[in-house]
């Protein structure tokens, strides 16, 4: 440009431009470098991540594989097969046995339910017979008056007997149930039923077929005829459709015990 001792403004400008261009390219290179570095690290990191993951997966798989049958020798496999076959047989027998038992149990259950319902029915009739439950239904009312107090306990035994003979299903005297264990006692004009003194004008209620019951008492030469021959005694028999007798008390065994009959 000539022998100018001082750079012209133009030179200075050119210098500045070159300088900045150099700086720019340097920084560009730096950016590029760090970008490349980032790419390097990222791709390698992803690769290593995959390697780690796959390694663990492979080790896991190998661990399960080692315990699996494929690793066993043929001889071991033969032994294992033998053992399994034997075990299988045992189990099969067991299954058959259990099925048999199941069938038997089913049968037994059926039998038992049948037995139970039968027992319930029986219990019902037995408890009715034993007078453990109050009963209601048609029957007859026998009113006996004895102002002279001439009747004896055995007369009432006969009354009850005759009524039973006539098919009475439940009997009560003065609202006291006559059960299988009931007994009459007393003396001197007093009549006791199961320890309770009966008030006079005895009212005997018997459930059952009205005709049969009435006939049992009123037969010619029967009980009624006999009783009315006593002085002052009257016997009235009346049929009624809606009668009820109370429940008797259950008697447990104190001395005896039931004997099972096989």
């Amino acid at each position: 440009m000539g022998p100018h001792p001082r750079p012209t403004p133009k030179d200075a400008l050119i210098h500045l431009r070159e300088e900045s261009a150099k700086r720019l390219s340097a920084s560009e290179r730096l950016v590029e470098q760090s970008f490349n570095q980032a790419r390097l690290v990222t791709s390698l990191a992803v690769g290593l991540l995959l390697v780690g993951f796959l390694l663990v997966a492979q080790m896991r798989g190998q661990a399960t594989f080692s315990g699996s049958l494929e690793r066993q020798s043929d001889q071991n496999l033969a032994i294992i097969i033998q053992q399994l076959t034997a075990e299988n047989n045992v189990l099969r027998t067991e299954v058959a046995r259990l099925q048999m038992r199941l069938l038997e149990a089913g049968q037994a259950t059926e039998d038992r339910t049948q037995l139970l319902s039968e027992a319930a029915r029986e219990l019902n009739s037995v408890s009715m017979m034993a007078g453990l439950e109050a009963a209601a239904g048609p029957g007859i009312v026998v009113t006996i008056t004895d102002p002279e107090r001439v009747l004896l306990p055995q007369d009432f035994v006969r009354v009850v007997h005759e009524l039973r003979g006539g098919g009475a299903e439940a009997i009560a005297i003065n609202a006291i149930r006559v059960t299988a264990t009931s007994g009459f006692s007393g003396g001197g004009g007093r009549i006791e039923l199961d320890g309770t003194t009966l008030a006079r004008d005895y009212e005997v209620i018997a459930l059952g077929n009205q005709n049969n019951l009435a006939q049992a008492l009123e037969l010619p030469g029967g009980l009624k005829t006999t009783l009315v021959t006593f002085p002052g005694v009257t016997v009235q028999v009346a049929a009624a459709d809606e009668l009820s007798v109370p429940a008797g008390s259950a008697v447990g065994y104190s001395f005896g015990s039931p004997v099972e009959d096989e």
Binding site: L40, V51, R60, T64
Partner: protein
Amino acid sequence: MLALALALALGVTLGLLTNVTVPVAALTYLGVAVLAAIDACLGGVKASLEETFDDKIFISGFLTNTLMAAFIVFVGDRIGVRELYLAAVVAFGLRVFENLGTVRRLLFSRWGWE
């Protein structure tokens, strides 16, 4: 380097956490593939130390090596040469050790231990 170690640890942790199990049938394939992947990563480290690393080459190498390794085992299974997987194992095993040696040497020279 630290980032790479972290990535490896993360991969292992991920594997442990996700509880993946490889089916027995795929065990051999994955085993050889893992070997190939290790080789590829070592190769990548080596290239980065030599400052010739190219991510395109790394990624493509990673993928083709692993897939080819598994494929070789598959082919061996199919054509009745089960031992073909040994070829892959030997090849990749050799390369792993080769790469390892190079990496070691490069690291030494970089750290000025030579």
